[in-house]
């Protein structure tokens, strides 16, 4: 289980080294994610989704609040938690000068996969994601879709319990996006916990068990997609979101 309580992140805007403005990118967010759940974090660009997931992924330190992974916290068990996390975002790029095989081997070593299991594990993942034909090619020579599969493979290689996927399909073509969505569904069946942020509302509606709509650092609505649509009397999550923020004009 992932338990996030009253999480806040304050940033200070600086212009030419001078402090100009303080603001909360994440402002008092709490939620729980249970085994086998896909949690959707929805919101427009700049809503605070990336900051929230970076804190949960242990890349950023929260200003206040707490994050627990099955009663483990970053303060006491940073490496144990990171050992069980797979973090995939539009910002997490992969090393291009090495081959997919070398990258996966490197990840196995970082995640302390026993050395005798490494080869077997790489072969399994390569087969699952249909990467065998380009496993030994340098990543710089792969197509976007192939590179994305390698990126997913590096997340799977250590058999993590928690997936943090931040705008993982953003900017990808329809085939590459589908690879990721299929992968999420498969991992859900294995009782993994998946935190999935996106600004594609339709995508979230299709795969998420629970949705948190975020705007300006705050959760403006949470529940199952069906609940949210029912409560906002809308037919899709996109309309629900606009209903909740009072329309595009109000947001502007």
């Amino acid at each position: 289980m992932i338990k996030v309580t009253n999480l806040k992140k304050k940033f200070i805007k600086q212009v030419n080294g001078k402090k100009t403005n303080e603001f909360f990118a994440v402002n008092d967010i709490s939620f729980e994610a249970h085994d086998g759940q896909i949690i959707g974090i929805l919101g427009p660009n700049g809503a605070g989704k990336t900051t929230l997931l970076r804190m949960i992924g242990g890349i950023l330190n929260p200003t206040s609040g707490s994050i627990f992974f099955d009663n483990m916290s970053y303060q006491k068990n940073e490496l144990q938690i990171k050992q069980q996390i797979a973090y995939l975002s539009g910002n997490t790029k992969i090393y291009k000068s090495i081959s997919a095989y070398e990258l996966l081997k490197m990840c196995c070593e970082f995640y302390k996969v026993p050395s005798e299991d490494i080869e077997k594990r790489i072969k399994e993942i390569a087969k699952t994601l249909e990467m065998e034909s380009f496993l030994y090619n340098r990543i710089e020579n792969l197509s976007t879709g192939q590179a994305q599969r390698v990126n997913i493979a590096r997340c799977l290689i250590h058999n993590p319990k928690y997936y943090i996927l931040d705008e993982a399909t953003s900017g990808l073509d329809i085939i590459s996006s589908q690879i990721i969505l299929d992968f999420i569904k498969k991992e859900k069946k294995k009782k993994k916990i998946i935190l999935y942020s996106t600004h594609y509302m339709e995508e979230a509606e299709n795969i998420c068990d629970l949705v948190f709509m975020v705007n300006k650092g705050k959760v403006i609505k949470s529940g199952t997609p069906e609940q949210i649509k029912k409560e906002t009397k809308t037919t899709n999550l996109r309309d629900s979101f606009f209903f909740l923020i009072g329309g595009v004009d109000n947001e502007k």
Binding site: G58, E78, Y87, K93, I94, M106, F110, K112, S115
Partner: protein, 385 residues
């Protein structure tokens, strides 16, 4: 199970050795050193040998006697006899190096002070007139039945070299500059991988991936530091080996190194490699510290440009001012490496100063690594946006 620092080091080294630019910086720059050593030696050699075997054409506005012709021949002088006005024109056109005019017993050497050849011929012309003067003096004294040897050599002047043979000016000059170029090669070699591993990794978006791995910032920094240091040490040692090879070649090829041994001895080589390692570690740490604050590769490169000069100039100043190593200088970074090298290459090995240099280097490296680890915990540094 391998330790995380080693894993980061392995990853970084793989990137350094697969990056053509990093490899070029690491391996091509050292090849400038033989060019420098041989080029400088050739320049000194040509300057020293200039005028020794060279034939100068000297004009005269009078007919030379047989004895003057003989002296001229012995001094490699080609004689050109013309009128004064014509000689001046010939000298301006550089057809003759200079010319000598005579008025009764007074001789005038006319030379163009702005022309190198004219200046070089001046010594030869002076020698020519001096030898002729001695001949006339001998002749005069013999005519009046006086032993010319007793009069002309009433005072004996002898020359004795008291400097150590290994303190040859040219040798110490060339070896000092070769060392400075080794230092500069190390600096240049450190800047590229340091930029690539920090600002480059940030720009490419792989830093965020690295931060998601179960590794402590300390392991990331030490791994990166060791990889940059290792590439700098490779450059430094390669540069030094090439410097020694070129000194061996220059020692046999140029007369300025005749009768002296310019090849460093074993203690000098060992201590110099030690200096190279210390310098490589320090400069790698400094480069990473500076580059890690930059948002982009380009910004980091601009920020690192001054360090190339900063690393080079204290050494030049130390050489030019000929200052002596002291306790204070032994702990001042950049100057201490040059000073210790100068001492060691002159066979003045002071283990106290060497220990101070090593200790102070490790203190500075500790401070620099501490600073970088702090940087890598700062969100402002890690995330550009």
């Amino acid at each position: 199970m391998k330790n995380n620092t080693f894993l980061v080091l392995k990853k970084e080294l793989r990137e350094v050795f697969r990056d053509k630019k990093s490899l070029a910086m690491m391996l091509i720059v050292p090849f400038m050193i033989p060019l420098l050593v041989i080029g400088m030696s050739a320049l000194f050699d040509s300057n020293v040998s200039k005028g020794v075997d060279q034939v100068f054409t000297i004009g005269f506005d009078y007919q030379l006697s047989d004895i003057e012709k003989e002296i001229a021949k012995n001094n490699n002088i080609k004689v050109k006899i013309e009128e004064d006005s014509k000689l001046k024109k010939l000298c301006q056109e550089e057809k003759i190096s200079l010319y000598i005019t005579k008025n009764k017993d007074s001789y005038t050497i006319n030379y163009d002070q702005n022309k190198e050849k004219s200046n070089l011929a001046l010594t030869v012309a002076e020698e020519f007139l001096n030898q002729y003067k001695v001949y006339l003096q001998n002749n005069y004294l013999e005519n009046v039945h006086i032993d010319s040897n007793k009069v002309l050599n009433i005072l004996a002047i002898d020359y004795k070299k008291i400097g150590k043979e290994e303190d040859n000016f040219y040798a110490s000059y060339v070896t000092s500059y070769a060392f400075l170029f080794v230092i500069m090669a190390i600096t240049i070699s450190a800047t590229y991988p340091a930029t690539d591993t920090t600002a480059g990794e940030k720009e490419r978006g792989t830093l965020e991936t690295l931060l998601t791995f179960p590794i402590k910032s300390k392991d990331i920094i030490i791994g990166k530091f060791l990889s940059v240091s290792l590439s700098s040490v490779i450059t430094g040692v390669l540069s030094f080996i090439l410097a020694i090879i070129s000194l061996i070649y220059a020692g046999g090829a140029f007369d300025i190194y005749k009768d002296i041994n310019i090849i460093p001895n074993i203690p000098t080589i060992v201590i110099t490699i030690f200096i190279i390692i210390c310098y490589s570690l320090l400069i790698s740490g400094l480069c990473i510290a500076i580059a890690s604050k930059s948002k982009t590769f380009k910004e980091a490169q601009s920020a690192l440009t001054p360090i190339t000069f900063i690393s080079f100039f204290p050494g030049i100043i130390a050489f030019l001012t000929n200052i002596k190593t002291s306790t204070i200088l032994a702990i001042i970074p950049f100057i201490n490496y040059t000073q210790i090298f100068t001492d060691v290459s002159a066979n003045r090995i002071n283990y106290f100063y060497i220990s101070l240099m090593v200790l102070s280097t490790f203190v500075y490296i500790g401070l620099v690594i501490g600073y970088i680890i702090k940087q890598y915990k700062s969100e402002k540094v890690l995330f550009n946006n």
